[in-house]
Symmetry: C2
Amino acid sequence: MSNIRHALSVKREDDFAAWYQSVISEAEMAEESGVRGCMVIRPWGYGIWERIQRLLDDRIKVTGHDNAYFPIFIPLANFEREAEHVEGFAKEMAVVTHHRLVADGKGGLKPDPEAKLEEPLIVRPTSETIIGDAMARWVRSWRDLPLKLNQWANVVRWEMRTRMFLRTSEFLWQEGHTAHADEAEAKEHTLRMLEVYRACAEEDLAMPVVAGEKPENERFPGAVETWSIEAMMQDGKALQAGTSHYLGTNFSKAANIKYQDREGGEQLCHTTSWGVSTRMIGGVIMTHGDDDGLRVPPRIAPHQVVILPMLRDKPEDAALIDYCEELRASLIREQALGEPIRVLLDTKPGKAAAKRWDWVRKGAPVIIEVGGRDMENGVVSLLRRDDLWNLDNGKPAFQTPSREEAASGMAAMLEDIQNTLFTQARERRDANIRRDITTLDGLRAFFSADAKFPGWAEVEWSKPTGEALEKVVEQLKEMKLTVRNVPMDDAGATGTCIFTGEPAAEKIYVAKAY
Amino acid sequence: MSNIRHALSVKREDDFAAWYQSVISEAEMAEESGVRGCMVIRPWGYGIWERIQRLLDDRIKVTGHDNAYFPIFIPLANFEREAEHVEGFAKEMAVVTHHRLVADGKGGLKPDPEAKLEEPLIVRPTSETIIGDAMARWVRSWRDLPLKLNQWANVVRWEMRTRMFLRTSEFLWQEGHTAHADEAEAKEHTLRMLEVYRACAEEDLAMPVVAGEKPENERFPGAVETWSIEAMMQDGKALQAGTSHYLGTNFSKAANIKYQDREGGEQLCHTTSWGVSTRMIGGVIMTHGDDDGLRVPPRIAPHQVVILPMLRDKPEDAALIDYCEELRASLIREQALGEPIRVLLDTKPGKAAAKRWDWVRKGAPVIIEVGGRDMENGVVSLLRRDDLWNLDNGKPAFQTPSREEAASGMAAMLEDIQNTLFTQARERRDANIRRDITTLDGLRAFFSADAKFPGWAEVEWSKPTGEALEKVVEQLKEMKLTVRNVPMDDAGATGTCIFTGEPAAEKIYVAKAY
């Protein structure tokens, strides 16, 4: 195996953070824009986002939500109102103060002092308050409930330290907001949307997650309950990949979202909100990437199969392209994973080997090379991105099915790749969760500085609140750890709390996190 | 016909502008947001935009473009550079100057003076310059060309007078940007994308358009050629519904977009850009709306068929819902206009008649009501939105096919509605174009103040330039007219220019415009 020459120059085990940046750059997913904290999402990265968007949007629509669009600017007054109702909301936001540029007299431009806004506008960090205003207008009676809205949009939070996809000042996301007549229905809906996220992460992104409730100290400001899905990255850290909040009547009080019940009485609505963002793409990279670049799960791959004719800039090329075109035509008639197979016939000028490695780094699930000899023999040279190397000779593990077999077997192959990526990730995660730690010292040892990629610990705690919880949070912080969540499928605690020594109330996941 | 009681209180012929606002509000398409110049796009309006987006996106992808995403903020310096290269670019933009809020000491919030940006950021009015920067990074050699990018995003232009969908400070759009090795290819591509817009407008939106070139004075600042599609609204005014620009090397000079040619020499790229926006929804309203509200062409209708069981809040409702559910199940198995039929079974509480009129105002193409008696007889009560009234008795023109006929005939019915809307609009447009005006007085009379909804005039002109053109523009301006475009299918001019008296060079469309 030592003779394998991997496609990236940085390996995961040598420098995980540098490897992550290298995948993003080598797979041409995104790049710095020159604007602080904002990235350019390049076509391959954006194509993956479009796939995630479409699959998740279908799931959100099936659960009865309509998409709508709300203004990018939010009046300052909305945040003043929120500051009254919600403690600890972040104030790092982009503030618009002028509406015109004017020549500065030195050959440049400046904000026109004559065009200063009377009230500054905020570029939305979330649309919570402005959607709340709309809900207050739209909800009149119990007949209007539940009101289920979703928005796909860009939002801006001024971040000091940014990392592409994981934390950027501008990011793309969806935010769902619903209003319900009562607590039970709103709570049920909070969990229903959490389940939508779990299914999307596991079935579409092939990214195993733990769904559970966040502890009190990790709740979204203003939420009564915050739930999350947490995924384990290959460096053992946790990535919070999506959250769903039950907001009680806190936001409906602030925004005045009321309805007339069947008896004619006035009631506050119970609201929920939930969101996932382009951060999920960071999760895909750190779940499925390897030392050759990205591996994109077929369901979210913009192109599932890339066909590369080995062109030589000669008249024979035409026949080769025809041969490949016929393969493409057969493939797109097939369905895989419930949709027509997405195929790119890449005839861009360039050396065949260079193009192959470009697609390896980008992580196209299946790469099919076709040369003159393949054509003569009626076959193709096929590479599975999830099974790239022949470990015996350190060379790419080409298969050479007939062209017809390649077409007829493709649906099953793509389904197998999707399953393989999920299974690999789940097995790796499960192998990296320690469940036998019962003391704080044990926890400290597991996460000690020389433990490489330690993973997660599932421990029991007494579910402390208030000051007792603050103390636990402080202890964990010293180890650079956080409580990720209380898993829903928790079998129940039986021992003692590793923090307080009291009888344990539940199991929690503890980890370093992004 | 006088006994028809239309669903809207304002009629087109009485007050077209008020009627337009009334459709938007009664069909629950959009509303004021409370943020100056920004609207909330409500689910029905946004659903129509999602349909347009998906259909147009498919067309844009078929022509070889990839979607990407660029930052919402653009450094001031980019506009300083553009101001040097491009005369007359607009300076009404939202300017971000701070990145944090802080308590103002009076219970409110204010921009934190400590968090003033060193260089202001501009909320993109278009992404021309920042995409230009990316192209300059991505294009190295002729092998990288053509580079074909597209972006779906929100943009902001500070507008003083706004009108929903037609002119708002924030709007949603797509902007395509391409770089080519030479002029011929870039010009060809400019027209190819114009044709994509024409096809989308006519085939998807059922909105007939005239494709043609804009005169010199109407060119996008910095463009060598600007082409447009123009649609006639029911008040006779023109709506520019999309533009496609050949930019020569003007933008590649400014952004330094160069490539190495096959001989190793350095060349400037020839670039194009083109865009359509949520403005198109305004076009759909003013093309297809009537005195009962909107009529949505089936291709872009979020729901093509709405089934309304006449529920009575009694146990019998269950059987009625089952009967309707079976109809829905049959319908969604059918394909119409190349896609599975989109059906809503609306079981929301409320009076059946009120719900019917809600869907009439929203313009769902087919509304199917089902009452207990319909169920007993195995039939349904079906309304075509494009053929709403029985003119003999002034009542809704219900058809009563069997449930099976309703399902099996739906694809053909939807296709017929799509065609009918297009044909009606085209016939109305053609009837409202005057082609026999040969004098300025004739033009003045046609567009005189007491001419109601006069339509367009196709006249011949000598294609003046420079000062001569300025004079023509001034003459037209006095009549509140503009040159819309020089139609591509122009048969050639044969007479004299109505402005200069010189021999005519080409035909132009002259109209009042939005």
